[in-house]
């Protein structure tokens, strides 16, 4: 079948402003939107620019606003997207070219949250630290994040003020805050209690809807606020 792709294009070297272009491609219902973007780039217009790598939803490169919602282009199939598909860059981040945005502020936010385990003690027997299955389960969900930015770029608080650390950074903070092996919980909670931290969330659930991994982001945010309360941080 033929599918019409409406793509919001912007080439900073040639265009004064973003504009829409239409392309017609031949597609199967099981094709991914990413396959259609490739058809355009490879065989119609080589200037179309976007990021992608694994093409099956694990590397997090190709978050885009597709048919009005943030999704991974490699996880959204034509059978669900229909025969007219609109594709634009994710919001809240500067468009560099076509579907590709400036990710640097996103990584900077992540790095603010100490995204690494802190624990210099090694068991006396030289073996692994023990961790119960229940303790392991506490960060199962948030350790699944692929850093695609679909959540943060769907957040209305983030749209209005990019100093907000955003849901992805909180998810990654949560992953360590509730890890029984970590020794820097207090410091992490103080970072999260910052005015630009977790309290900015207004629970609109856009992030949950956008997450391609179905991570329960607002639950993680709530747990972080509870931990801040328990730690007595004001």
């Amino acid at each position: 079948m033929d599918v019409t792709l409406r793509i919001r294009r912007y080439n900073p070297e040639a265009d004064e402003a973003p504009h829409w272009e239409e392309y017609t491609v031949s597609a199967e219902p099981t094709d991914r939107v990413l396959d259609l973007l490739h058809q355009v780039k490879w065989y119609q217009d080589g200037t179309l620019t976007f990021r992608r790598s694994c093409a099956h939803g694990v590397c997090g490169s190709d978050a885009m606003l597709i048919n009005g919602r943030n999704r991974l282009a490699c996880e959204y199939l034509v059978r669900d997207a229909g025969t007219t598909i609109t594709v634009e860059a994710i919001r809240g981040m500067a468009v560099v070219k076509d579907l590709l945005v400036d990710m640097e502020p996103f990584w900077d936010s992540l790095k603010q949250t100490m995204p690494f385990l802190v624990n210099d003690e090694i068991p006396a027997d030289g073996r692994e630290r023990r961790q119960s299955q229940a303790d392991r389960e506490r960060y199962e969900d948030t350790s699944r994040c692929i850093l695609c930015a679909a959540c943060t770029s769907a957040c209305p608080i983030f749209w209005s003020d990019q100093s907000y650390v955003g849901p992805a950074a909180i998810v990654n903070a949560h992953r360590f805050i509730v890890d029984s092996r970590d020794t820097a919980k207090q410091e992490r909670l103080e970072i999260m209690a910052d005015p630009d931290g977790v309290w900015r969330c207004r629970t609109t659930f856009n992030c949950v809807e956008a997450c391609p991994r179905d991570i329960k982001i607002t639950k993680a945010i709530l747990e972080v606020t509870q931990e801040i309360g328990k730690a007595g941080i004001r």
């Binding site: 080439n11 900073p12 070297e13 040639a14 099981t30 490739h38 780039k41 490879w42 065989y43 217009d45 080589g46 200037t47 620019t49 976007f50 990021r51 992608r52 790598s53 694994c54 093409a55 099956h56 939803g57 694990v58 590397c59 997090g60 490169s61 996880e75 199939l77 059978r79 560099v96 070219k97 590709l100 990710m103 990584w107 790095k111 995204p115 690494f116 385990l117 802190v118 624990n119 090694i122 030289g126 073996r127 692994e128 630290r129 023990r130 961790q131 119960s132 299955q133 392991r136 960060y139 199962e140 350790s143 699944r144 692929i146 850093l147 360590f176 890890d179 092996r181 970590d182």
Partner: protein, 599 residues
Amino acid sequence: MTVIGSATPRGAIPPTRTHDLDAVVVGAGGAGLYAALELKQELGPEARIGVISKLYPSRSHTGAAQGGVCAALGNTEEDHWEWHWFDTVKGGDYLVDQDAAEVMCRDAVETIINLEHLGLPFDRTEDGLINQRRFGGHTRNYGEGPVRRSCFAADRTGHAILQTLFQQCIKHEVVFFDEYQVLDLALPGGPAGPVSGVIALQLSTSELHAFRARAVLFATGGYGKVFKVTSNAHTLTGDGMAIPYRRGLPLEDMEFFQFHPTGMYKLGFLLSEAMRGEGGVLLNDRGERFMERYAPTMKDLASRDVVSRSIYLEIAEGRGIGGGDFVHLDVRHLGAEVLNKKLPDMSGFIRTYFGLEPLTDLVPIQPTAHYAMGGVPTDIDGRVLADETGRVVPGFYAAGEVACVSVHGANRLGTNSLLDILVFGRRAGKKMAAELANLPEPIVDADAEASVQARISGLLAGSEGERPAVIRAELQEVMFAKCGVYRTEELLTECRDAVAALRVRAQRLLVQDKGCRYNTDLGDALELEYLLDCAEATVASALARKESRGGHAREDFAERDDVGWLKHTFASRDPASGSMSLAYKPVTITKFEPRARTY
């Protein structure tokens, strides 16, 4: 075809910018990140360690690895690293260098423990230890039956490894040059070395950068995109193999490419072997569990080359599903608990891409091009070898899929890829740190910089020619059909000639994007050139090897020939004349004499 984009090709490429570093790591997957971490830990916080990658580190293909990483921890049943060593040698059809495999399997235990200390979210046993499960080709007591050896984080072990190492690199303030594509090695004295750094293209601006360093590690991964059906990411185009090959350095054992049995039909990406490790079975059109015929002991958990050939034969004999080119993976009996808790990503893939329910539906699978056993030859410390005599290229290191140590021989066991990147990435980092002071001061390679500039200008200047995607699609088609699971003299000869013809056509590529910002159209053209180089070396090596061993199966030479072919291939191309040559290096055998290989 017409040219789109800015009307005038850019006249002058921006001048090359220079960076002086102590060591450069190219590639930000597991091997590169672990090496960078070791370099920082060995040399201290002042050390200028740069990681250059064409992707953000968290996008690296390490993150797609699923089922686990093996180490004989013995956490759930008796196990010994010597058993793992034997399995690795046998799995590699005795082409494994046994001293290297010994190092890998012995170091595995300490390495996995170290990763836990770094924060890796392993699944746990009821006692809180790292949990372990079965995996193809891994056995107890030298082949008696399956053993629980694979350490895992659900079915996203690679993701957990990549995240953990990236996190620790952030902690240790490794400097990242993200979205820089390396285009050449600085080799001012010729291919014998020493290496003086690399030249890279900054994707966001198209500026060229010369990174000068005494030590360079290539950890750039494989080249699965040379095949039509592959589990590999779009970005796996063999850059790190082709760059030294173009400079006249050899590639080892390129004829050995692994076809994984359970690729998702037509899509190519994997359904983890862990699905069979947890009890999944393969069925043909008659509903028969056919692996019982081919591998009576290990059945569906025989090594990958064996299972892929069995599927191929079932299909060839008309027992594919509906007579077609696929078979079924049956995981219905595993139950919701196992599918949703231990294999959640796999179950999600089946639902998302096939619209099928693994609890009630059979899943269509076909063998998919998965892993290069061959690559840039190295010793057990990641030092790149200049030739089959073992001469080292000073300052040049390689680790991970780009390298060939050789721990995988003719066929890699499941989980040993993650182990390889970890053990040898780490060892290479340590060795670089130890050797750094004794390596010569880097000097500018003006020729390399000029040749990269000329190459890019040439690609951007053309206003007619063929689109890279057209040639790439033909290459992928011919390689999958004629240099795939089964090969013959006739098929390989046709394949060699087809690749040569495509190489000629690729001298006139049309890059439509003439701009400087994220010119991914230019990137496609550069990557196509690398794929063609890797294909050339692969087919030439395969055509010469007149035997069947591991991932290289010849219908016209169906038996393994230890008298004639128990040796590694070294393929190289003379940069001046363009002529290819093959040389051979004996296999290192220290403990396990080659025996017939049955599962």
